[in-house]
Subunit: 377 residues, 2 copies
Amino acid sequence: MNAAPLANDTFLRACLRQPTDYTPLWLMRQAGRYLPEYKATRVKAGNSFMGLATNVEYATEVTLQPLDRFPLDAAILFSDILTVPDAMGLGLSFGAGEGPRFAHPLRDEAAVMALQVPDLDKLRYVFDAVTSIRKALMTTDAEGRPCGRVPLIGFSGSPWTLGCYMVEGAGSDDYRLVKTMMYARPDLMHRILDINAQAVTAYLNAQIDAGAQAVMVFDSWGGVLADGNFQRFSLDYTRRVVAGLKRERMDNGVKSRVPVIVFTKGGGPWLDEIAGIGADVVGLDWTVNLGAARRLACDRVALQGNIDPNVLFAPPEVVAAEAAAVLDSFGRPQRPDGTWDGHIFNLGHGISQHTPPEHVAALVEAVHTHSRTLRSR
Amino acid sequence: MNAAPLANDTFLRACLRQPTDYTPLWLMRQAGRYLPEYKATRVKAGNSFMGLATNVEYATEVTLQPLDRFPLDAAILFSDILTVPDAMGLGLSFGAGEGPRFAHPLRDEAAVMALQVPDLDKLRYVFDAVTSIRKALMTTDAEGRPCGRVPLIGFSGSPWTLGCYMVEGAGSDDYRLVKTMMYARPDLMHRILDINAQAVTAYLNAQIDAGAQAVMVFDSWGGVLADGNFQRFSLDYTRRVVAGLKRERMDNGVKSRVPVIVFTKGGGPWLDEIAGIGADVVGLDWTVNLGAARRLACDRVALQGNIDPNVLFAPPEVVAAEAAAVLDSFGRPQRPDGTWDGHIFNLGHGISQHTPPEHVAALVEAVHTHSRTLRSR
């Protein structure tokens, strides 16, 4: 049993492969530009992404917006994966209409040797946002006792994914600079990844201390690596992070388990290995057959995913049918022996800014309804 | 035995899983901007990609350039996958420093209903280039008899990959337009794919008639599809193409088999199904473990791939070591029972324009040398 004081702990139960009445869902990037209320808050913050992320009040406001609109089963901290390298002094900025950019990317040995685990005080705004969001999520249960509405997920980029941005200095089509360093100077790459692993571990533990009830590691660029290098340059460092995380927290004297989710975009070929690094949940993109993934990994982890976010551009009845197909692909979570496998419904990637919000409503409704039906069969 | 009149038929033999003295290699996009001589020819052609591709003399010249520099084991027609939709009237252009763009993308039902299999006469410049390249590849064998230096590979985009460009009108980050059509109006998408499959089949057969000794279907964007949709919207149509291809050709009275290669970028999760559509060879990107792929598929197909093209940015000794690692991952191609599995060495994606040519020389040398050693162990 999960003992977190929550009105709705379905998400945490699914992460821990405990019985649930329905399949919980949340959406990667659920607080985002497809919501008009998000855009309104962003205007207040000077139309700046980091203006939102660094302001505790605004970060709290946008985190709660999707929950007020849809009955989602988890909240996720509004922030960016690149806060950590920014705190390392790389100088993060978001140009208008552009992706993130670092003023001081790691391009030579001197820059790599000067890199250090950042002072966590520089990330205080993140931990303050976590605490503020937890407060804003407070409600009362049927007996009038205070409890949270849904759990709050904290997150970070993986050491490799942060390393990609830190060397490239921006997004990339071909990862030429970071892969050149990896192939030509693996010693420098390993130094960056070692520091990143230490920093990410400390960063996520501080989020847990501040109130995060689950944490997720986004290995967004693990899938660009060759077989063999994925294991050496991405997975080994994510494993170190997972091994260093606090897995329990106390809330009002109640101890609860903090599930760890690892998501490697394009990680399908390595699911068996990813499922073995000690995480509670593995996130999957839409290329993965959920039934096959369940057979391979569900004795070790719960699975999170994996509908194509582009499904949300189809009419609501198609959205509902595609959501049902994903749930059916996983199947009834109860096993014949009475134990449960874990499934958290999600997109296989962040939601598009062009998504019609009413299609999201259709998705949430379909997942909750169809997954209840599936359990009763 | 493959009976093509060739000085070097190692590539064709490997495709057909026949014994070879070493592992043959060629490189996707081997005639390209990383070669100064290519850039010089391109300047002569008005610095235009299509100016090169539509001029038989220039297309022949650039096709042979990499063979004159490196002892590669196959030539590949210099052309573009988008010649077919261009012939359908979609209006292909390449802006300066940009990717391809269609003036008339398929955005509504009327446009889709008006689409037709193109008159192959509009693609005459491609077939003429094939015939011209075959002539330019002629040499004489030890007894002074005419023969080709190496085989010539023809190619096309897959029905799905062409369909992506035809609906999006250009490259895409998220494939929102084509996936919206696929999810919301699958009938329209299937109509496009049906026409594309007919057109691609006729186009490749005409290349074979003109002299192509092997053909390759590039399913560059199959990997963006969800499991299930990949099978329905990409693989089923590639299967139709493969089923409609001429598999034998006559050269100077000698009959030879025309191997068919299918390459789905990001297709690793579906290797077992791709290996079952009737192709002779399956191309693999670098995320795939070649040893595992061999165990899964080598009773049905040869494998082509799969080094990360970014390896070529490392120093030559690293390039050599990484090439050896790929060959070792496939292993000795002879089986204990005396039969052979097939491996053609290649990159897992097109070569980068920033690649130093001398690193390509190191790669070719390492593949030829190490694969001979491997066979003798």
